[in-house]
Amino acid sequence: MFAVEWSSPAAYVVYMQRHTSSHLSQSQDAPAAQASGGDPRWTRFGFIMAASGSAIGLGNVVFFPANAYRFGGGSFYLPYLLALLVVGVPLLIVELGLGREHRRAYPGALRKAAGGTGEFLGWWALFNTGFIALCYVAILGWVVGMLVGSLGPLWEPSTALTGFDAERLANPRGFFYRMISRPAPLLFIALIWAANLWIVRRGAAGIERAVRVFVPAMWILMFLLLIRGVTLPGGVDGVWYLFTPDPAVLSDVEVWRGAISQIFFTISIGFGVMTAYGAYLPERGSQTTQAVLVSFLNCGFEYVAGIAVFAILFAFAVVPQASTIAMTFFIAPEGIGQLPGGPPVVTSFGVLFFLLLLLAGLSSSVSMVEALVAALREKFDLHRGATTTAICTAGILGSWVFALPHVVDPQLHGHGTLGMTLFDLIDHWAFDYGLLLVGLSQALLLARHRRIERLRRSLDARSPRKLGPAFDILVGRVIPVLLTALLVWSLVAEVRAGLYGADATFADGWSRLATVAPGAALLLWLTVPTGLAILLTRWPPVPRTRRSQP
């Protein structure tokens, strides 16, 4: 359907008028039935909150400051802003546009746009996202544990006896290791999945109700941290450090690679989430503007988070770590623990910080669950409540896989806990390669047979500001070249260093894991999403009945 060749511009205009009018009339005739399984649409404000809430997550609060430090502070901002404009915003326009255009979740929308290969890519992306969600919720379970701890024991100055070889570690590290070696995080993980179930089973309306509270609360909490950070002695110097460029660093390819990766990760590209959310968009509105708005809201939050976190870390000379777990559970709390004003201030800001992380994480995990729920409902004509319950139940078990090793046998760790090794391996493949592969494949698929041109013309038809043919070149040519270069660069580094994780070591009796785990993780990541995607793509869709209505 995208391989249409027009004999003249006039023929194209006629085609577009027919296409646009038929699309609109179809949507107006049966809007509920077309909107991804019959769900109601967002309100304008609800969509902005939901999409920016999906994009704003743990990565904004802790990973951006860590990356900004690692890649030279102010020097990171130039590639970061360029990556936002050249890669981030165009791909977000495409993903939102696909959802709005076809009123389908990611696999369904890609099927309509690019046939069976597109649907396969859509399912593959969602199962890759599923792996990410399992890790993500496990981390959120630990965030709840730290939130509870921040009411008191986390800030105790004495060292804590951990379960790991009875090591004595100073808090917050000591508290963290002790906390994850106890069964409580398993309950917290179940609670997070239950919260996802509670929100997602109500559909777009339920998500909208939740994010209307979560997202403004996140902004308020972040501004409170910002004010506290910059009013600390030396805090403003941290801000200057964050923004002062080091020109020598700009010639380092790693900085540019880091910036593109950060943008990809931070605005939820390649997750399939934005297409699912785009399917619930109201009739009126331009996805070009909405994509700019969502990505700038996300990066604006990151900007504020960077200032707040840098101010606190600099004031107490805490060296950031470019690791989500280290930044979340050790480094940032270390800074908070040193705040002047005594235990009430430390406790208040500790609770505030972990509450912020919890809300940010929850609004992101909800979007990942919704993407899969919407796609499965469309394909199999399933009831929303039952689908969400099944996914969240499986999610509990999956996230426990990442948390249980610490609880069952804390002595597994050796020079790297088994649980962290699983996290590490799955994170590496699903995040570092999975998202980029999806972004690249999507761009390549749409570049063929002028599909991107058709999508762009459809987007332009709804927007007073036209993207123009340059957009086709950007998405169809420039972005694939950039992403291919990024992936090749990463693969070359991977090959040179050996299979990722092969150098992990384990305690006595578990050394065999070191030889099996890295290969097994790669195999798991490749085969599970691929196998399920093939199965679901070949499965004929179930005709829609009333079951899929909310």
Binding site: R44, N67, Y69, R70, G72, G73, G74, S75, Y77, L81, L169, R173, P233, G234, D237, G238, W240, Y241, L242, F243, T244, P245, A248, V249, D252, S261, Q262, F265, R284, G285, S286, T289, Q290, V292, F296, G300, Y303, F314, A315, F316, A317, V319, P320, Q321, A322, S323, T324, A326, F330, H415, G416, M420, F423, D424, D427, D432, L435, S463, P464, G501
Partner: protein, 158 residues
């Protein structure tokens, strides 16, 4: 993408906890109790700062012979060793920071074992114009973009 391995990071964190948190590490068979102290909690670029190695337990012996090594902006692509590394003769060292940012000082003994660590934040001499420019440019781009997009979206959605 860009994140280092969590297991490696955590292993390093666990292994270095004693160093990072107490600033003390065994220098020999007996427990050493050295710490690096700075006369300024936030040194400033261009201002002389005194670093002192202190035996907090009074049992670890003299700090003479220990070597202080500094790294500016550790753990980043802009990391640089501080040239001013020298054998401590009287337990103290004069250091004039040349570059703003975080600095990690370590004291090592003859066998190159770390006996103490100090992280310091070095403040810039004055407000850096380039930093101010990027702060304003990035803020204006992002929040200006949000304001414009919000207005357009409201208009286009109505």
């Amino acid at each position: 993408m860009t994140r280092p391995r969590w297991s490696l990071v955590l292993a390093l964190l666990v292994a270095s906890t004693a160093v990072l948190h107490t600033g003390v590490r065994a220098a020999s068979a007996t427990a050493s109790e050295f710490e690096i102290h700075s006369d300024s909690s936030i040194p400033r670029v261009g201002q002389v700062t005194q670093l002192r190695i202190v035996d907090v337990s009074q049992r670890a012996g003299s700090p003479v012979g220990l070597i202080l090594r500094g790294t500016s902006r550790p753990g980043s692509v802009a990391a640089e060793p501080i040239e001013h590394r020298q054998r401590v003769v009287d337990g103290s060292l004069s250091w004039t920071p040349q570059r703003a940012g975080l600095v990690r000082w370590i004291a090592v003994d003859e066998s190159d074992e770390i006996v103490a660590v100090l992280d310091l934040a070095v403040a810039p001499e004055r407000v850096p114009p380039a930093g101010l420019l990027i702060l304003l440019a990035a803020g204006t781009t992002l929040f200006g973009g949000i304001a414009i997009a919000l207005r357009r979206d409201r208009h286009e959605s109505s």
